[in-house]
Symmetry: C2
Subunit: 119 residues, 2 copies
């Protein structure tokens, strides 16, 4: 197997990077890091996500082995999403990403204003 290298178009890491460098994925995994969360709970906590996007993103994360879906046979059904061990290996990086956004948002907005002023 060739060395993984996201700069090559056909390298699988490129695909994974694309999946993982995703706004919703970062937000969802951030909510799961403290324990399992149910579908509608995620929906409530992530403002602005549609049911479709949440469902789709969760399915992709499950397929990639980052999230474990568990359905309990209650009536109506209860479904919990939790991080897998593999998913947990991403939490630090994703935390860093969210924190970066929170810490540097002021600088970014200031830069945007400067940029837009000139143009």
């Amino acid at each position: 197997m060739t060395t993984p290298n996201p700069y090559r178009a056909k390298c699988a890491t490129r695909v994974v990077l694309d999946r993982v460098a995703d706004k919703w994925a970062v937000l969802i995994l951030g909510l799961l890091k403290d324990g399992p969360v149910r579908f509608n709970q995620l929906r409530r906590e992530i403002e602005g996500i549609s049911q479709k996007m949440l469902s789709q993103t969760l399915k992709n994360l499950e397929r990639d082995g980052l999230v474990q879906r568990t359905a309990y046979p209650t009536v109506p059904v209860t479904v919990e999403y939790a991080l897998t061990p593999l998913g947990r290996t991403l939490t630090d990086t994703f935390d860093a990403l969210r924190q970066w956004a929170e810490i540097h948002i002021g600088e970014v907005v200031a830069a945007q204003r400067r940029y837009d002023e000139v143009a």
Copy 2:
């Protein structure tokens, strides 16, 4: 100002996170971390990126204050892109993200195979 919180739909950090949680941005900043790189050099090194996407992503990164564009009045013109100090604050996190993809690609692909087998 309210506390930055990407889980709120109208929070500016959500927008920044979206910009920064981007495949092309991660790849571009990765190439810039060792020094300025020219437009077509980036194009060659990032397989599969179109001129349009490169141009667009660079413009966004410049607007956000992460990248500095410098044009030299040669004929034809020479343009260099370099990280700003703000952009440099992202390199560790982005390195981590690319490395995660490279390290865990095997596990992800295996998980995908298991998932697809059942379905």
